[in-house]
Subunit: 259 residues, 2 copies
Amino acid sequence: MDRSAEFRRWKAQCLSKADLSRKGSVDEDVVELVQLLNAQEQFFTTSSCAGRILILDGGINGFEIQKKNCCWLLVTHKPCVKDDVIVALKKANGDAVLKFEPFVLHVQCRQLQDAQILHSVAVDSGFRNSGITVGKRGKTVLAVRSTHGLEVPLSHKGQLMVTEEYIDFLLNVANQKMEENKKRIGRFYNCLQRALERAALSNSHPQIKEKSHPSYTHKKKRNPEKADGKGTGEENAEELENGGDHPGIDDVSTFPEDA
Amino acid sequence: MDRSAEFRRWKAQCLSKADLSRKGSVDEDVVELVQLLNAQEQFFTTSSCAGRILILDGGINGFEIQKKNCCWLLVTHKPCVKDDVIVALKKANGDAVLKFEPFVLHVQCRQLQDAQILHSVAVDSGFRNSGITVGKRGKTVLAVRSTHGLEVPLSHKGQLMVTEEYIDFLLNVANQKMEENKKRIGRFYNCLQRALERAALSNSHPQIKEKSHPSYTHKKKRNPEKADGKGTGEENAEELENGGDHPGIDDVSTFPEDA
C-alpha cells in the first residue's frame, strides 16, 4: 500500500472532524505549535493539552476512579489562587487530589523517521518522557510527555488534610511548574522550527543530510559511563529524579534545568 | 549492516558489564522479569527500577536541582512508615519532596516489531505511558512507564509544611500505590509470557501469525469517537487523569483500575 497516501487520508479525515474535546478548542498556549505541526505534510496532531492545574475528587484511599465517575472540582490553564482551591475543596466528598498536568501532545507522523526527528526535538526541549507508538497498520504517533508533574492528596473522605498555609505554598510550586512548562512549550516550538529548516535544507542538499539532522549532531552525553553501563539496577532509573528516563537516547542533549 | 549481529554484539557487551547502579543489583521485585527478558534473543534490559518511595531535599521553590547536588533523605522499595519519614525530614534544608516513583524499565529490542509487541504487553499491563525510542544507529528501546506516581512537597527551606497526621495519610496512599505497582509488574510478567508463547507459536505456524499477535487481537476501543476524533483540545488529554495518554494506541485494551 502507499503509506504516504494513507497518511494524507488519515490527516484529512482527522483535521476535518470537529474538535471533540470538552473545551472544543486547542489551548491558547499551544495553538501556534499545533498550527506549525499541522502545516507540515509529515505531521498532524491528534490531541494536546497546554498544561493545567486541576483538583479531582477521586476515589477513597488514593485510588483514582474512572473518569466518568471522577468529579473535577477545579481546572485551570492559568496560575491558580488559594481561594479558588479552598472553594473547590469544600465540594469534595472523597479523596481530593491536586495535580499539575504538564503539556502533552500527540502527533501522528508519516513515517518513523519523522517521528524520530520530532522525538529528538521533544527531548532536546526538555520533554524527556516522550515516546513513539507504532500501531498495527503502521500508524506512527509521537507522544510528547514532560516529567514535570505534581500529584498531592489534599483531603480524605471530604475532610481537608492540610493547612491553608500549605495550600499557598503548594500553589506557589504548582504555578512555577506552570511557568516552566510554558517556557518548555516555547523551547519546543523554536527547536521544531530549526529542525524543520534543517530538514528542508537537507532535502534540497542531500549531501549534507547527516549534518542537517538535528537529532544526531552536537550531542552531549549526560553520563558516558551510564550510557555504556549495564545499569539494570537503579543507576539509570535514578534519572527519574531529574525527570527523565532515557537511556535509550542518552546521546541526546538535555537542559540543565531539567536535570 | 547485519542488524541482528549488531544487536547480539550490543547485548553481549551490555550484559557483560558490571551493574553500575548505586545499588549494584537488580531490584528484587523485577529480577524474574529482567531474567525473562534477557533470556530472549530479541530483548535485553538496559535499566530498571521496581518502584520506590523517596524523599529528596530539592532546590528551593519546588524546582529540582541536579542529581549530583540533590540530597536523598530517604529511599525505600518497601512500604514506608511515618517515623522513618519524620526522621528523614529533620535533615531537610531546602524544599523536601516525597515521591512515589513507579516501576520503570528500559528494554533494547532487536527490531521495531519486537518493541511493538513489548509495547502492547506494557500497555495491556497498565503501563500506559510506555513508548519506543529509535536512535540514530537503529538502536530501538522500549521505555516501560507507569502513570501511577506521587509528588508531594513537604517542607520549605527545611521547615515542615504538613502535620504528622497528613504524613500518615500520605504514606497510606504511597504504600497502596506501591502495592498496585507490584501487581502491575506481575501482570506485565504474565502478559509477556503469553505474548512470547504466541510469538513462538506464530513462528512455528506462520499461517496463524496474525492471530498470534498479542498486540493486534481482541482489542477494545476505550472511546471510538475519541479514537477517530480530531481531539486537539483537552478531550484526549483528559486521559491523563486516568493515568494514560495513548490516543496513538487507542486500539489497545486497558485495565479498568487504570482508568
